[in-house]
């Protein structure tokens, strides 16, 4: 296995260990096991928050990688395709009308968020069926359309909410690793483990689709069916993250690019880099969001965008220079 991968894993663990110590309230190492405000902040606020950030970042980055493979387009992400805004719209509707759906004991906003993401995906496939063209271009374009649609829905809801609600809604829409209990942490970690397992088990299939539809089909893969089930999976994973953290941009776009380069296009290593880097990046972004202007927290979605945009441009330029 790749040495760089182990190095990154070590760095991420270190980051996870250090992050909860940093903040406005200093934490005393000796007081951690005693009952004190410091230990409460450490165990109940900052540690679950760091863990949640890692799991959410890992899932978002993996979902970006899967989207890029499915669309063979390095710009395809759950954000661009409207899956994230579908999930966000689902959550907003549930918040507004105080809807609490529960499936298999999993409740809260998650089910509405999942249904929102699912509706975006269904729309994409219905359009493809309706115009009898399921080319990637059609799917991508209908995804972009549904993204605009759901974004407008969200704005409408923001407008009709009363003022105090609008602010909290706006805050949620900017993305944030909200102070979470360990329930959410466990939930996202289970999903992250499941996502990793699926991505490994179906590596042959993902490799086939990333090499092209004709290539995959003539090697025996039912491409349309595989794409459908993969999207269903994406709705589950992206829906979960959005329901807890709101839509957080750029992680899904930037991380797979870097991971492919670091993993030298080897599948396992690319996947390893993707989830570690995605998780680490979000923990770091969340730390910055707490530190940049204390005691105010800058929404983490804004931090990832601020960090991601120039980084992505630099990456593009580097790539263009290489091909020249």
């Amino acid at each position: 296995m790749n040495k760089k991968l182990f190095l990154l894993a070590g760095l991420v663990l270190l980051l996870l260990a250090i992050t909860p110590f940093i903040g406005v309230v200093a934490i005393d190492l000796g007081g951690l096991l005693q009952e004190s405000p410091g230990s409460f902040i450490f165990w109940q606020l900052r540690l679950p928050r760091a863990l949640l950030g890692f799991a959410a970042g890992g899932i978002l980055a993996l979902s970006g990688l899967v989207c890029q493979n499915l669309f063979k387009n390095s710009l395809a992400t759950p954000d661009l395709l409207g899956i994230s805004s579908g999930a966000a719209a689902g959550t907003v509707v549930a918040l507004k009308f105080n809807i609490q759906l529960t499936i298999l004991g999993i409740g809260g906003l998650y089910v509405s968020s999942f249904l929102g993401a699912l509706s975006a995906i269904l729309f994409i496939f219905l359009v493809a069926k309706w115009i009898r063209n399921s080319s990637l271009y059609t799917l991508l374009m209908s995804g972009v359309a549904i993204n605009f649609f759901y974004s407008s829905i969200i704005v409408v809801f923001q407008y009709v909410f009363d003022f105090s609600d609008t602010f909290s809604l706006l805050r949620w829409l900017m993305g944030g690793i909200a102070v979470a209990g360990y329930g959410e942490v466990l939930f996202l970690f289970v999903l992250l483990a499941l996502f990793l397992l699926l991505v490994f088990l179906f590596r042959a299939e993902f490799l086939l689709v990333s090499a092209g539809d004709d290539f995959a089909a003539s090697r025996g893969l039912n491409v349309a069916a595989f794409r459908k089930y993969s999207f269903l999976g994406l709705a589950v994973f992206v829906g979960a993250v959005v329901s807890i953290c709101g839509p957080i941009g750029f992680v899904a776009l930037v991380v797979p690019h870097v991971s492919r380069a670091w993993g030298a296009s080897r599948y396992r290593e690319t996947v390893g880099f993707t989830f570690l880097l995605g998780g680490g990046l979000l923990v770091l972004a969340d730390l910055l969001s707490r530190l940049l202007a204390p005691p105010v927290e800058i929404p983490v979605g804004i931090v990832t965008s601020l960090m991601g945009a120039p980084f992505f441009l630099a990456l593009l330029v580097a790539q263009l220079k290489k091909t020249d």
């Binding site: 063979k72 490799l207 090499a211 539809d213 090697r219 025996g220």
Partner: protein
């Protein structure tokens, strides 16, 4: 081996192919030729089961291709499209291993037989140096070679190729044609859509001429000035050089 029965295909109300009937036997080397837009690529995609016939049928080993699953079909034929679409980096090694996909159960690992044939493919096509390369960084000739090797590794009796010599320099083209010839000698059936008559005419034992979606000729390969004039609207001549029949356009 594979046959077309009254095969027709249309896009909306525009007919692309009409009423094709032919039978391709095992170990045939079939050259499909015709002017641009004659329906050659569509015919190849129909044979490969990538498109569904409008009217009529394509039958593989006596059964309609529509009745095979994708996986079953991939164990019987391999289709190499005109342009590959590698939009993301993929390692050559993974492209080659993909050839074993039709034989693997879900999540199953490579068997010794899989490894054996992959190694044989790497040796026969001399790909040892390219295995860890990203397929996007290969030259056109190397890429075609890798794809053909992946068809070899897929170990299918029938290989369908759409303009395999596109964008190849004369040297690479010559080598690729030699590889196809070798695959044919080993007992495989080869169906090629191509414009390079100088490369394929002498190799094929059968030929299929298409014009505006209708079949003008199917049968034993033979030089016919009338047929070529009908298909391409120019005169062709034939010379024999170095023991090989060469044909070329000549007004």
């Amino acid at each position: 081996m594979i046959e077309a029965r009254g095969l027709s295909y249309a896009v909306g109300s525009r007919p692309i192919l009409t009423g094709l009937d032919f039978i391709i036997e095992q170990q045939d080397f079939v050259l499909i030729f015709g002017a641009n837009g004659a329906g050659k690529s569509t015919l190849l995609r129909l044979l490969a089961g990538m498109l569904r016939a409008g009217k009529g049928d394509v039958r593989l080993a006596g059964k309609s291709v529509a009745a095979y699953s994708r996986r079953e079909l991939a164990a019987r034929l391999c289709y190499l499209p005109q342009a590959d679409e590698f939009a993301l980096p993929v390692l050559v090694r993974d492209i080659l291993l993909a050839g074993r996909y039709p034989y693997r159960a879900l999540f199953q690992k490579l068997t010794p037989r899989d490894r054996e044939i992959v190694v044989a493919g790497v040796e026969q096509f001399r790909l040892g140096d390219l295995l860890e390369r990203n397929v996007q960084t290969l030259s056109n000739g190397e890429r075609k070679k890798v794809l053909l090797a992946s068809a070899f590794i897929q170990d299918v009796p029938l290989i369908l190729l759409d303009e395999p010599l596109n964008f190849l320099d004369p040297g690479s083209a010559f080598h690729l044609v030699g590889m196809l010839q070798a695959l044919n000698r080993d007992g495989r059936t080869i169906v090629v859509v191509a414009h390079e008559l100088e490369h394929f005419f002498h190799l094929a034992n059968k030929m299929l001429a298409l014009k505006n979606g209708t079949m003008r000729y199917f049968g034993v390969r033979a030089f016919s000035a009338e047929l070529l004039r009908d298909v391409y609207q120019v005169s062709f001549q034939r010379v024999t050089a170095a023991g090989r029949e060469l044909i070329f356009a000549h007004e």
